[in-house]
Symmetry: C2
DNA sequence: TTTGCATGAATTGTATACGAATACTTACTC
DNA sequence: GAGTAAGTATTCGTATACAATTCATGCAAA
């Protein structure tokens, strides 16, 4: 790969972030500058600039003379993040409702996603489900037209996606979750801003609750800290 | 200045950020790397890394081959940010309440700040007032013990402080504001989490409302976009 | 005067070079 | 064999060098 034109800094940043979010670069992994250089065929300067960017986004941490390391994300972090998302995603959804309600394309896409999630849920395709789920919520918060919220939520959702574990399959929860998405969609279609706000808050609260239960149950497997 | 030991990257970053927040580096200002280099006696490499960090925090923007520019912050941005703070600061305050309620030192400091604000308000010292105000709210949200909220709010408060204009003196609003701070403090002392949450939300809502009015009134002076 | 272009100066983007700190290897002692 | 110390190798932090692009200036022509 990459034997031709030069990669832009932003793309470099996105590439590395993707590796981290996909757990291809797992928590705790040392990010050697040299290896990254040869991986993307650039010198250390742009690599370090990209790493500084990701550092400020919280995906990696650095210590002097020891270099960069992928941060780990614990259940404790996930709880803290969900606590924020319960509030912010619902706020964003409320703001977004009037914009989406009169946007046939977005409504159609949201409905398609709901149905696709229902299908994937039946097929037990967690990975696919998570992708659709992320797109569903992204469409909503991006429609809030509040660039500050959008930036924050993009970051937070990326971080939760680092934790969410393909392995963790909870059939009951997934069915519930699908229904909650449909409920959100119904409220949006009605233009019921407060209804959407509430539905999203409930959705994230339940997701967090079930996540905590599940982790609790699988505690012998892995404890509080993931990696 | 700076004729001795080498400055740490983090401090460099903080220094530049301070220049921006204090409007010493005003919105739209071109940040020439050379000038920054000679200002802090370092080479371009650490300067650029610091700038990348600040870019991801939203204080500057860059475009290829044109370099870095201090971002401008408009009333529209401030409205968007306040919309978030109304929710997030109140959430943080609710979380923080039980921790502060049993922390005599913090309670004492908060009370002192309230009284100092009252004094500064009488003396019409807006700059001093703003500083105390920021410390008051920072103590609260930092006590939330949610590191994700803390990071977000530190960033948002910094940005609003770029906008808030020393020139804008609103006696009535400042008196009101002082009372609202006392109300927040009373709720914290009682350990009334929901009361704190509500009080903070009301406080930020009113601040935003008055800010909008004031901007509206002084519209001939400066319109929507500040700088 | 204004428009257009050409040339050079200045600035940025990236690569490389070098000093400093850390990690690793090896060899030696016990 | 375990532990340790010295010396080597690697990696990082920063400075500098070079390439690519933009910006400014000046001059010529309309």
């Amino acid at each position: 790969m990459s034997t031709g034109e030069k990669i832009a800094l932003k793309d470099l940043c996105d590439s590395i972030r993707m590796e981290i979010v996909s757990r291809n670069f797992p928590p705790g992994m040392k990010l050697s500058e040299q290896i990254l250089c040869s991986r993307w065929n650039v010198s250390r300067t742009p690599i370090r600039e990209a790493l500084r960017h990701l550092e400020s986004e919280g995906f990696i941490s650095s210590s002097k003379h020891k270099g960069f390391v992928v941060t780990s994300i614990s259940m404790h972090d996930v709880e803290q993040i969900y606590t924020i998302m319960i509030n912010l995603d619902s706020l964003a959804a409320r703001l977004a409702t009037p914009f989406i309600a009169r946007d046939a394309k977005k409504l159609e896409r949201l409905r398609a996603l709901c149905e696709e999630m229902q299908g994937l849920c039946g097929m037990k395709d967690i990975e696919g489900y998570m992708r659709k789920n992320l797109e569903f919520h992204s469409i909503i918060f991006r429609a809030s037209e509040n660039r500050w919220i959008i930036k924050i939520l993009e970051n937070l959702h990326s971080h939760t996606n680092r934790f969410i574990l393909k392995a963790l399959y909870i059939p009951r929860r997934m069915d519930e979750s699908v229904q909650e998405h449909f409920e959100v969609l119904r409220c949006i279609e009605k233009g019921d801003e407060r209804g959407v706000e509430k539905a999203i808050a409930v959705h994230f609260s339940r997701s967090l609750g079930d996540l905590k239960n599940e982790i609790e149950l699988s505690a012998p497997l892995r404890t509080k800290e993931m990696d």
